[in-house]
Symmetry: C4
Subunit: 216 residues, 4 copies
């Protein structure tokens, strides 16, 4: 018979290493975004001050999509961070949902690159929107799975907190959905929503104040 | 004479930093996979909605091999995670087996890229299979080395648990072997097995339930 | 009502995971710098010992900008490390300032690559200077936000220490400003200042001695 | 006066975050090595089974240099790991020596790529040798700085252990020096020494046994 001491038992798979993998993948995906913002190297004769300034200015769609994706990934990192704080244990199913979430994170540099190359094309805007929506959906799934019947969270977590957490994610999914619909009118409009989308989460919201209160 | 206090002695090389290096290498290898899924940038006149949709659709072998490798690496990360949970100490030999395992992990983006470029070629399928099999073999070696005579694990670990852990890895090696044999018939068949292979590990198996039980 | 135990409450968002994300992003950005130092592969007939030595020597602007950026990023990593040591708690606003800082860190490989490709062009030197100055400004903002009214630091932190910390950052911003002005005279002069800039921070300064003293 | 509680004081800069940065940079550099092992994508008509097998076989110098560098970086990671275990505190000078060491680590993918592209050229072998020797020298410097007058290590550390640690690094520097000299005879000979070099450290040596003993 196994007689592991209490300190050996980790109540399922360790939360700490899942966080370590998640942080590293987020950090890497956020850093990879910059790899696609590149000024082509041209040979000496062509290089003038004016040429380089123009080349820099022409990069603005790449640069905008870099900033946008960095901010959106930051937002999801904070959210992931916030939810995992309430976890008391993990299980194999949760781990796989989390890995699916991380796979969607890894795809963000791809769809950012695509949008930066073709900012006026509806298909690029739709692919980007799908990617962000998948982030929202897999995060929602994680939170739903973890809190359902207090599966992985403490037994005294407030139902209100669980509900508010879900509403917060659904709000984002709704915004991204409308952005995708707007791309049928004009792809530029959808990009405006993608840019505005994180602003809704920037300041501490009512839910945030609630959480802070809960921790006092 | 050295008079290191007990807190200074770490019973061999620290398990925590080995895990940190392993998690980081896994995270990078998993993120690097996306670098090879790229839509070529073409100049303005050629870009139509239809052209881009077609280019996206043509990417499916790259995308499928990305997802497949991400899932397989996730699987091995979970397994590595699960086994290292039982380690009580490490030694230099174990460290080198672990580093060999990580070297094989790092090669996965290479063989994934190869398979994504030439999905219909037997050699690409064989190289991919060899890579995954090497993951299984080095993981098996780690577990065998660590548990042999309770070398690096606690003395009260059940022989049954050790045996089940080995069987679980051998099952995967067997599946990959048959996939490689199938590639002589048709490379597409072997890819089907590579895709199905992680499904066998997705749900908590009997062994999993056993482990969970052992931790209660 | 939530009845989280004291150990569950983390006084805002966890400092540890913010540090983990920061360390990982710094590490990647510092490693990505080397990706742009490349010797072109040429076919067999052209390769002579002299050709390769010449190609290596021609890389010196790339290599110099790599070393320069690695040292500057190291400097900011140490500074970030030093300031975050005094943090007692975090909040959402601080998190976003930190993420803005990390976004600027991620841009460093881009501006380094640009400067390495066009070391004699004023625009490259100015872009690089702006990037480093943005590092200084966002770090200043973090420290200002954290210490204002002891918002995120312990209540007994000395006003002198806070002031010295700010002066230390402002000194760097001043040096970078003058480098950028010098680039109007000659871009090479500004690069000399970028190279010399970290030297001012290399040795323990008076402030350092003060901090060390504070810790005894 | 500052009245930081004992828990606030960290005796200089935190060892934990230095290790985190080091582990991440090592992991990233080790993973980047694989980026240069690439099979060129050619269009459909040219692809035959024979062509791909030949292309794979032609990659052997790239693959050998990948494995060699992965093993050498592993070796230095283990050594760095071993030495930092004895650190009781850090200071700014030590931090900079460590960052210099990490800068040399980051250059390894560059010199590996160079050697893999031009395995028969003396200059490639010399650049590679210089890189590895710089790893040894900066590691030696760290250990020398940390142990001199027990600056950063515990006061009861054995002089013999300090001396053996230095000898172990010097042995490697000597091997690399002779490899570089051999490259004047034939570059292939120097590569043989680079490959054999880590083997001298693979098994627990007398010094290792001494350390293990010290920990019992």
């Amino acid at each position: 018979m196994t007689t592991l001491s209490p300190s050996e038992s980790n109540q399922g798979l360790g939360k700490q290493r899942i966080e370590a993998l998640s942080d590293a993948i987020f950090a890497f995906a956020m850093t990879l975004l910059v790899l696609d913002v590149k000024i082509p190297k041209v040979s000496g004769a062509l290089v003038t001050q004016e040429f380089l300034v123009q080349t820099l200015l022409d990069l603005w769609p790449k640069f905008l999509s870099f900033v946008m994706s960095f901010v959106i990934l930051s937002l999801f990192w904070i959210a992931h961070h916030g939810y995992s704080h309430f976890l008391k244990r993990t299980d194999r199913t949760f781990l796989w949902i989390n890995l699916l979430f991380l796979m969607v994170v890894v795809i963000v540099p791809f769809s950012t690159d695509f949008l930066g190359d073709y900012p006026r094309q509806r298909i690029a805007s739709l692919v980007y929107g799908c990617n962000i929506m998948a982030l929202g959906l897999t995060l929602y799934w994680q939170w739903e799975y973890a809190t359902h019947g207090h599966r992985l969270v403490g037994s005294h977590i407030e139902p209100k907190l669980v509900r508010k957490g879900k509403q917060r994610i659904l709000m984002g999914i709704l915004m991204i959905s409308s952005a995708m619909l707007l791309s049928w009118v004009n792809p530029a409009l959808s990009i405006v929503v993608y840019v505005l989308f994180p602003i809704a989460y920037l300041r501490p919201s009512q839910i945030d104040r609630h959480w802070t209160h809960a921790h006092d």
